[in-house]
Symmetry: C2
Subunit: 324 residues, 2 copies
Amino acid sequence: MKTSNSTFEEIGKILSSAGKVLIFPHVNADGDAIGSSAALCRVLRKMGKDAFILIEDDIAGNLKFLDDGLTTFDMDALDADVSVCVDCGETGRFPKRADKFMEAPVTVCIDHHGTSKGFCTYNHIDPGAAATAQLIFRLIKAMGVEIDKQIGEAIFAGILTDTGSFRYSNTQKETHLIAAELYDSGIDAATVAQEIFETMRMERLRIESRAIETMATLHGGKAVLAYVTQKMLEETGASMDETEGVVGQLRSIAGVELAVFMKEYGPEEIKVSLRSKKYVDVAEMSSHFGGGGHERAAGFTLRCSMSEAFDRVKEYVMNMAEMK
Amino acid sequence: MKTSNSTFEEIGKILSSAGKVLIFPHVNADGDAIGSSAALCRVLRKMGKDAFILIEDDIAGNLKFLDDGLTTFDMDALDADVSVCVDCGETGRFPKRADKFMEAPVTVCIDHHGTSKGFCTYNHIDPGAAATAQLIFRLIKAMGVEIDKQIGEAIFAGILTDTGSFRYSNTQKETHLIAAELYDSGIDAATVAQEIFETMRMERLRIESRAIETMATLHGGKAVLAYVTQKMLEETGASMDETEGVVGQLRSIAGVELAVFMKEYGPEEIKVSLRSKKYVDVAEMSSHFGGGGHERAAGFTLRCSMSEAFDRVKEYVMNMAEMK
């Protein structure tokens, strides 16, 4: 049901004529979801609208600086004329708020995911954009509202997050041009970067270290495997999501082509994350084990013990033709 | 003896009329020194000059991709018409090559360090530039040479290094504008970033983990102390310089104001690195122990055992008025 995109001018008009607007970032919101939401919310309030970001789960600690009376858990905060979902393209990404979203007479979706459904009255979906925040930037320009420091920093936070600080291949010329323009609004880019990238729980550092200590190499260091167990989480006080950076650290080792990180979610539930650098197709490896993903990042789940899972994965990697 | 800056047009003319040019990055060259040198060397060769980057120590592993027949250790590689030092502003930064540098009838310095001496025939020193690579970019534009993919990637590498991937406060609007323009020359920015930031020895990850495991907190987590011993280095196979990132990791913990990292260089030689986030003056703490530094980054050396050093530092931190 994906429809052709509405222009930012059309969406801008809809928002300009609304009185009450609710903004819906996805659950487990990242810097792009919160940054995009915060920028849009501030713009709408600047225009005199009643606007809130409706959330259903806590904002991550390192993103709280972007919220300043913008978010609410209160489903009755307002009856919106327009609902806007950002950085997500289906109601399953905000399950507890789905009914509330659809209640509004007009719905809008602004997203950069290729999987976006285009399910709203107005949709602007651009998988070519490095971040949804880039689309919000363009929308604000189309609406003719001046980007102040706080709006600029929210947009910058979104870009910084989704481009991995301008390092990922999704970064475009336009990304840098937007960043340059944001400097004109007086953003303190270094502080935004510090808030986002340098605010981690001590438990996270501890679990990362414990996981790194489990490293085992194969094929003379071309493949590296590591794992985390429930016991390790208990001992460090960390949560499983605090291990999300480990597989990237494994891949960053010189000479490593394939990084495998195995996470024990339960006694018979091992989630395996795969990353490759240049030539190993991890989507193929993942599909062998019933999972999915992309060429350079994929994953699958095994229903067995960690030690059995480790052996099965190790054996597979030992026999990979590409690694020989 | 700092003189007023020569313009890029003047320096461009000098280089254009030269036949043989030697380029001098500083010792322990970082991405900006090598990136700037490589970009300039490629431009000069493109113009038909004999040009080399003369070095006296090995290029770091993660920067080797920038070199492709550009560097030489051979002091007799050529007798230069013009010597150019980049990203440094005194001969002490290339001690073994100092005489060779001064032998050329014309010398040029292009640098962004405020401490630069302006000791050359022509100097362009701009402490406001985020990276020397930005100055090289402007020089190349003044010389009218087209920036191709390889030149662009060398400049990008310099910028990426010295701005911490566009995160440091030295990053300017112009930095992003240059990055945007480099995309026009077809740079593969993601690969450059991967080479620079994602090429670390496994031993480095191991020693970082071991050091993180020694973390002890004081003042309810506002201060954190960690250490590394010779034994830990032996067990992991890492070198001491591979622990350079640890103190930054300690500081990046949420709630931490003061990070202390203690390195055992010898049985009676403990070097202590200090970092603070917002309000603790670590230069003051450092001077108490006979060291020096800045408000947010300082260090000192203790001539005692690790356990004695740890106790002394811990006691001092326990009694710091600012932490209470």
